[in-house]
């Protein structure tokens, strides 16, 4: 297996140019929205709006303005699949369509997916959706085809400010920690890394440098594995079945006198 690869996204240097979105769409031949008819959100420079089956990169424009809009700024962040080390989508996929590659990325095999959409509800980041062209769940593949050919992903190659950096996870962690230290020294004390530690789903192979709370960027503060509920939900269901079974046994066994009493109730 090759060394784990991924993205480190430094949101402080993102300029919102959307070159990553365009490069992703071009390389992966993703269809346009509404057959190319221009639809604007009308309330933001963000017209992509969210990650889905045909948008595997999404540059978020987070407005932080005063009410009179005299003062303010944007937080910009290029969002993408996190390629979680403990991937909820891969865990629940009932067809085996979602696999982990030799680069430690998580890829949906479109020819095996049957569109059950279990992975969509399992992903805590809202990354996956169905691509209407294929009828299958789709998301970023970390440009698996390019990686196999020794190239870097299209989005990071296109990024003009190095907000999106590609490399081995070990190297990216070192680079990101140095950047956090640099920002702290420069007075930006809020800078921190999201998803670089193992506490977040075993570590995110696409992690972020942020300067505000995760939820401000539309990221869950505490993403969890869906199977956290499996044991407890199963035991409670079994308990329900036992109680109903006992009720049934009591009623059908004693039904002679009991049912008569019940029928005769005024």
């Amino acid at each position: 297996m090759a060394e784990p690869m991924g993205f480190y996204t430094d949101t402080t240097v993102c300029i919102g140019c959307k070159a990553c979105e365009v490069a992703c769409k071009e390389w992966n031949q993703l269809p346009s929205t509404n057959g190319g008819v221009n639809t604007l959100s009308g309330d933001s420079y963000d017209n992509t709006r969210r990650l889905d089956g045909i948008h595997w990169r999404h540059v978020k424009f987070i407005e932080q303005f005063t009410e009179d809009r005299k003062d303010g700024h944007w937080l910009l962040m290029s969002d993408v699949c996190k390629h979680c080390v403990q991937a909820p989508c891969l865990e629940v996929c009932p067809t085996g369509a979602i696999v982990r590659t030799e680069f430690d990325s998580v890829v949906i095999q479109s020819d095996a997916c049957n569109g059950c959409r279990d992975c969509i509800s399992a992903c805590p980041f809202g990354v996956i959706e169905v691509n209407p062209a294929s009828g299958t769940a789709q998301k970023c593949t970390l440009c698996y085809d390019r990686l196999q050919g020794g190239m870097e992903p299209a989005c990071s190659q296109a990024c003009p400010t190095q907000s999106i950096q590609f490399g081995t996870i070990r190297e990216l962690h070192g680079r990101a920690q140095k950047r956090v230290a640099q920002l702290h020294e420069a007075g930006e004390k809020r800078a921190y890394l999201y998803g670089a530690d193992e506490k977040t789903l075993g570590g995110l192979n696409s992690f972020y440098l942020l300067v505000d709370k995760p939820e401000v960027y539309g990221l869950p503060p505490d993403p969890k594995m869906p199977t956290r509920n499996l044991a407890s939900a199963s035991w409670f269901s079994a308990l329900g079945a036992v109680v109903v079974g006992l009720m049934g046994i009591i009623n059908f066994r004693n039904r002679g006198a009991g049912a008569q009493d019940h029928e005769e109730r005024p």
């Binding site: 009932p94 993403p223 509920n229 499996l230 329900g240 079974g245 059908f252 109730r265 005024p266």
Partner: protein, 301 residues
């Protein structure tokens, strides 16, 4: 601003719609009716056997319908077999930790059990002339083995859907571990209700019908208690139901599907002969609305 009651609020809805609501309902009826029929076979009197056969007559068509609904809900329906066979290797596809994977196998296995019991019921009723199928009906060990295994898998089918919802990252669904329990209990209540309705329609008078009335009356109370427990266990996420869905849950499920049927079951004089059938019909309506609210409300968050 930017305060969310749970980390589940950042996931995307899977667009499970009406097909899934109907699947949850008919899957619950299939599992529940088989389970009740098995209890009657195992613990009831010989004169109650028509009631058990009624359960098997309901279970098999419902499980068939469930399979059709699930297949139609797939974006690529012709790939339904990928749930059972890995398409790249043609090896069996099974993940013990994925409720959808285990549920697919359970549905297949339950389909076989319900078909066997369905054919056995037909043979016992004399609708098909087959001494071989007659052997799967009581008396005999074979019947016991089939209905115990079929009943367990059937109740699994009725309840795993709630566990499947819990094993996601959607608000409401994954914020409580009690949905599987709620679906199991609700499957019993709607199944008993449907059997009561059909038995009354056939003007049956065997003693097991009285037991079925009482079982449904008890289970509806239990279902109410489990639903309250679900609401409490949601904690701050409960506010996701402080809207039209919550109103529908209160009026459609609690009042229409639980409180009124309970009153009718325990106060027989209110509607005379139609008391029990009205109560059973309301339990069915409430059980359907329950699944509708749970499926749709979590996807609107």
């Amino acid at each position: 601003m930017n305060t969310f009651p749970s980390s589940t609020y950042f996931s995307a809805p899977p667009d499970w719609g009406w097909l899934i609501v109907f699947y949850f309902f008919f899957g619950g009826l299939a599992g529940g009716c088989y389970f009740i029929a098995a209890l009657i076979d195992l613990f009831g009197r010989p004169e109650d056997r028509p009631l058990a056969r009624l359960g098997y007559y309901i279970a098999f068509p419902c499980v068939l319908l469930s399979g059709v609904l699930l297949t139609l809900d797939l974006n690529r329906p012709l790939r339904f077999w990928h749930m059972l066979i890995e398409s790249n290797t043609f090896q069996p596809m099974f993940k013990l930790w994925s409720p959808m994977s285990v549920g697919s196998w359970a549905l297949l296995i339950f389909g076989i059990f319900s078909l066997v019991s369905f054919l056995g019921a037909l043979a016992e009723d004399g609708r098909i002339q087959s001494p071989a199928w007659r052997k799967v009906r009581p008396p005999g060990m074979l019947n016991g083995v089939i209905v115990v295994l079929g009943g367990l898998v059937g109740f699994y089918v009725a309840g795993y859907t709630g566990v499947l919802l819990a094993v996601t990252n959607r608000p409401i669904w994954s914020d409580t571990p009690l949905l599987g329990m709620l679906f199991v209990v609700s499957a019993a209540s709607i199944s008993a209700a449907l059997m009561i309705l059909l038995a009354h329609r056939s003007k049956w008078t065997m003693p097991g019908i009285g037991a079925l009335h009482r079982l449904d009356a008890w289970v509806v109370v239990l279902e109410f208690l489990v639903l309250i427990a679900v609401m409490i266990s949601l904690g701050p996420v409960f506010r996701a139901w402080v809207n039209a869905w919550g109103v529908l849950l209160f009026l459609g499920v609690i009042v229409l599907g639980m409180v009124i049927p309970s009153a009718l079951y325990w106060r027989r004089q209110w509607l005379g002969d139609r008391n029990v059938t009205t109560a059973a019909a309301l339990v069915l309506v409430g059980g359907f609305i329950l699944r509708l609210v749970i499926v749709f409300s979590a996807q609107g968050v």
